[in-house]
Subunit: 510 residues, 2 copies
């Protein structure tokens, strides 16, 4: 996607803005609070959307379809799509067309139950149900826009049924790009390098607009353009994602998540817009629940190639502790269960000893990333178990015994060690040639954020009422998933809550 | 304590305040933000303290001792002492005088290690260490003020040594009352029924004072007096406690903590001052970690009589599941471990079946609350096991077998079921006559709150710098204890961080 705006009227809108930008704005001079009475508006739209990931794009498209005239997206990065564009492109939908084709029995209730389990008692059941009920509709929006999915479903960790679509490009850009194109065609104004720096409020505390720094360079954290005051006639939607890359904030919640710990998110996932909402009075919820992805590799940066490779391969792979040669987890348990189990793989001094995921090469190679994993040296192929054990210094005899034991479970269909569902492992024995990747959790997703309701409204912490003029959707909202989100449940949440936000605006309820 | 101010100058200060209070303050008209430029100050002090519990009183006393001239406390309730006055009066101190007397080996490191374990990896080690290092000094402040403690130490759940003092009155009022008296003698101004309703800031966002609603009636949530603008020349300290009684906020973090769930806190523990700090930009930390006390009884309201009774008796008691007659936990594990274990005591329909704590009557009766527990019908005495089993419908044979088994551990000194440390159970067999109370967790303590540093400064979420003019101490601060606080570690934290806040002000660092 281009870093330039696609809207022909923008240049005109930008004309006549003095170099001082907001310098003329009255006190207070700090960034925290700005009031409409002190501000001269530079631009105005009916619906102002901050961010350009799944939630933002879905909201923009739905808003246009519902007849909202002027819709604008402001994105801090030079390109559109946000962190969504580099996510795994995995989309859980209960009762989907592909489930019907494949004869998979599933339901909204079942998906919600799986998520409640992973949420460990504190997920928001009403919001989960709202999302699951509208997931098909959201999938359809992506299909209508031209998104393409692999022709089979996957069963991810913690899901009791195969219900996960994946884009053919195996990343979220397979969705954000078509949605972006669709949004532009519908006349949504697109502004990149525009960083939201605060809200502008009316006399009753309601949100009337935002300040936006223009020509923003995220790598240097510098704005070279003016600061604009953007009026939102109907509402502002904050859809800016999580804060996994905000080291201070994540360490405040979990001191072990230092800068050294890997992270799958783009650098821009720093959560300032969420922090601005807390300053308005939004309720912070579940901030301490930061999820690490148990499918990541310590041998590459970010989400990399291994993550999707291992998500696909876990059902028919064996994960072992390098020091013992033994399994240590159900390879398709929920994310938190697996990440916690992996983090316990340490030597006597407490140093990490990343565990190994072992797969039969000809099964592994069915995933498009397998050759890339080998090419970039973040995965290894071995013709014999002896070579594998020697390379990683794994004790051979226990490893051999473990493989025999595990293959017994493949045959019987019952994992007596960790209760892993073996249906997807049928006939997929661990045997030569072997494919191996190393595993170590990376910071991936923030369950925490601002509390929202089923209209995507943001609740005021003192009054319990929605903050007028403000909506939030996607990862920036918190509390929906509880302690731990299930894989492939972020896209449905983002899309559905983005669509929901647009409908709230269209219904005049924002 | 009286609901009237003890300071002779107050009447004078209140004179000349018009009936309109802040009515003349300029827009914005909502309560969220007020700026010094819009405000006419009604009162002014060097150090303004909001709340009157352990942290507030310790700060006030230390401030006076450090030569700060004008110190004032504003308390929303009619009486002083806050929730501190009804807490258990348990005070953990490593290397205390009584430990030396009793020959107990202990250290700051050991106490910090115990707390880190209970914090499950996310406690703030530096803050825990700061508190433990100054705990003796804080204890001394209470002794100097006239606080009286029982002549023996207790070993509470999760502590690896007996290090806990308890007030002779078995509640926190045994500390807050002497401290209050001391503070008044030192000339601290005391204002009750004064509810802090917001901050007043300068042009740079710094805190210059607060708005206070006067003649506040907490039961009706109504202020009958004026709203005053109180200038703090040096700093405002927020020491307002937790939010256990804020049903909306606690349910946002944990939907199971409905209004029906018992709570040990005073009604005023609703956290609005914390929410106001989030509006200033304080970092919300660990809000989802709300602790339930595993020593509470479902047969009485609040902290009641049973809590201290059972805290004292757990080391030499047996807790059993009523449906099986078997033990289900280490009776002196940390609070979260025990509360989680208790909450699992449910029938086939998921309804709670509160477990029983069984103690030999003549051991139980050593605690001052034993007779009150019997008198108020929240505990039961039985001459035979048969009568006990019949009364509570416990299967007799397994119960008998469990008691024999447990008494074997008393004899051997090793609990083979749950690894409970048995040192304090020596010679204390479970035998007739039996004393029984029922157990069910109650919401007790909020690990979450605003992030502070070792100077009690409140960090700004966007700049990472302290918010000028603002300090916080006690339960309103979050992140110190991690997932779960150990019992008797709140008083040292509140006292030390209150003292610390005063020293920060005295050093001109606020």
């Amino acid at each position: 996607m281009s870093e330039h705006t696609f809207n022909p009227t923008r240049r005109k809108l930008m004309q006549g803005i003095g170099v001082t930008g907001l310098a003329a704005v009255a006190a207070p001079s700090f960034a925290g609070d700005r009031y409409a009475k002190d501000v001269q508006w530079h631009q105005s739209h009916d619906f102002v959307i901050i961010g350009s990931g799944f939630a933002a794009l879905a909201a923009a498209i739905e808003a246009k379809r519902k007849g909202i005239q002027s819709v604008a997206i402001y994105e801090q990065m030079p390109t559109f799509g946000g962190n969504s564009s580099i996510n795994g492109g995995l989309f859980a939908v209960p009762g989907s067309p592909m489930q019907k084709q494949e004869g998979v029995k599933d339901s909204v209730d079942r998906m919600v139950d799986d998520q409640l389990k992973s949420g460990r008692g504190i997920a928001d059941e009403a919001l989960l149900r709202h999302v699951a009920e509208h997931a098909n509709e959201a999938l359809q929006m992506t299909l209508d826009a031209g998104a393409e999915y692999l022709p089979y479903l996957q069963q991810l960790g913690g899901h009791s049924a195969p219900r996960t679509y994946q884009t053919t490009v195996a990343c979220g850009a397979g969705i954000t790009q078509p949605l972006y194109k669709e949004a532009v065609q519908l006349g949504v104004e697109m502004h990149s390098r525009c960083r939201m720096s605060g809200f502008i409020r009316g006399d009753q505390g309601e949100v009337l607009g935002v300040t936006v720094e223009t020509r923003y360079y995220a790598d240097r954290k510098v704005s070279e353009g003016e600061t604009l005051a953007i009026r939102a006639n109907k509402a502002v939607l904050v859809a800016t994602g999580g804060f996994s890359q905000n080291i201070n904030l994540r360490m405040a919640q979990d001191p072990t998540l230092t800068a050294d710990v890997g992270c799958t998110n783009i650098k821009g996932a720093t959560g300032e817009a969420m922090l601005e909402m807390f300053r308005l009075g939004a309720v912070p919820v579940h901030m301490a629940h930061i999820q690490s992805g148990p499918w990541a590799s310590p041998d590459e940066g970010g989400f990399g190639y291994v993550s999707n490779y291992s998500i696909y391969n876990f059902p028919h792979s064996m994960a072992i502790n390098r020091m013992t040669g033994k399994r240590f987890m159900n390879e398709i348990a929920d994310r938190k269960t697996r990440a916690d189990a992996q983090l316990a793989n340490r030597d006597a001094q407490g140093n990490p000893v990343p565990p190994l995921m072992i797969t039969h090469y000809h099964d592994a190679d069915k995933h498009p990333n397998c050759q890339k994993v080998l090419k970039y040296g973040v995965g290894w192929k071995f013709d014999t178990l002896e070579a594998l054990a020697k390379h990683f210094d794994v004790p051979l005899a226990p490893l051999k015994a473990q493989i025999e034991q595990y293959n017994g479970y493949v045959k019987s269909g019952v994992d007596e060690q960790f209760g892993k569902p073996m249906a997807k492992a049928k006939d997929k024995y661990i045997k030569a040639p072997y494919m191996v990747v190393r595993l170590w959790p990376k910071v991936h997703y923030c369950q925490g954020g601002v509390k929202i309701n089923q209209l995507a409204q943001v609740e005021d912490s003192l009054t319990g009422q929605p903050i007028k003029g403000l909506l939030a959707a996607g990862e920036v909202a918190g509390g929906i998933h509880g302690v731990s989100r299930l894989g492939s449940c972020s896209i449905p949440e983002c899309m559905v809550m983005g669509i929901t936000a647009a409908r709230t605006v269209a219904a005049g309820k924002a």
